[in-house]
């Protein structure tokens, strides 16, 4: 009786773990951002937020 040996080539290849790519397209974040935009468009900002402070969002000068 022939001895059966495991067929190495039939073994499924293990998937290479993925690493996080900064700024990559992520449906989860896209969905959260769309929801945030919809809510702010609908309800606006708190009245306490000084309207005169409405300057463009830009990084602090270093």
């Amino acid at each position: 009786m022939a001895v059966q040996t495991p067929n190495q080539s039939a073994k499924p290849l293990e998937k290479e773990p993925k690493t996080y790519v900064p700024g990559s397209v992520q449906p989860f974040f896209d969905k959260k951002e769309a929801r945030c935009k919809a809510i702010i468009d609908r309800v606006g900002l708190p009245t306490e937020v000084n309207q005169s402070e409405r300057i463009e969002l830009r990084p602090q000068q270093k």
Binding site: G23, Q26, F28, K37, L57, Q60
Partner: protein, 146 residues
């Protein structure tokens, strides 16, 4: 902020990562601050688990690492760091489920003394923003660094 938190690694000036460690092992968490409206200075705060198998970030997974307080303190720390670069940003945060939003609210209640030293916080209630008060339920939060 004097709360026990994980070591943060910044990825550019709008993303951070850290590793949650608990009974389920190590879980890579990604925090992303996305500018939604330049004029209104609205920035969305999103964070979730990175799945190395799929390459996808999601926060619907219940990771059960029993380190919620430490994770939320880490997210608060990242928000502080982001606001150092963007001091006039209004950070919008909301859980992906009602239960998650409640969880954030409970953390704000618990650490309000510390949080209020660093941020002005508003809570959204019936489509109106109110100054945050402990013990009240809100649908979303908006924070600005002091």
């Amino acid at each position: 902020m004097n709360l026990d938190h994980y070591l943060l690694s910044s990825i550019g000036d709008s993303e951070f990562k850290f590793v949650s460690e608990g009974i389920q092992g190590q879980i890579l968490k990604i925090i992303r601050f996305s500018v939604i409206d330049q004029e209104k200075r609205i920035v969305n705060l999103g964070f979730g688990d990175f799945d190395a198998e799929t390459g996808v970030v999601d926060d619907r997974v219940v990771s059960s690492n029993q380190d919620t307080d430490k994770i939320l303190a880490t997210v608060a720390q990242a928000t502080l760091l982001f606001c150092q670069n963007y001091p006039n940003a209004l950070i919008y945060a909301e859980g992906s489920t009602l239960a998650r939003t409640r969880l954030y609210q409970m953390a704000l209640n618990k650490h309000w003394q510390t949080v209020s030293d660093h941020f002005l916080v508003w809570g959204l209630q019936h489509d109106l923003w109110h100054s945050f008060e402990t013990g009240k339920n809100y649908d979303a939060f908006l924070a600005k660094s002091i």
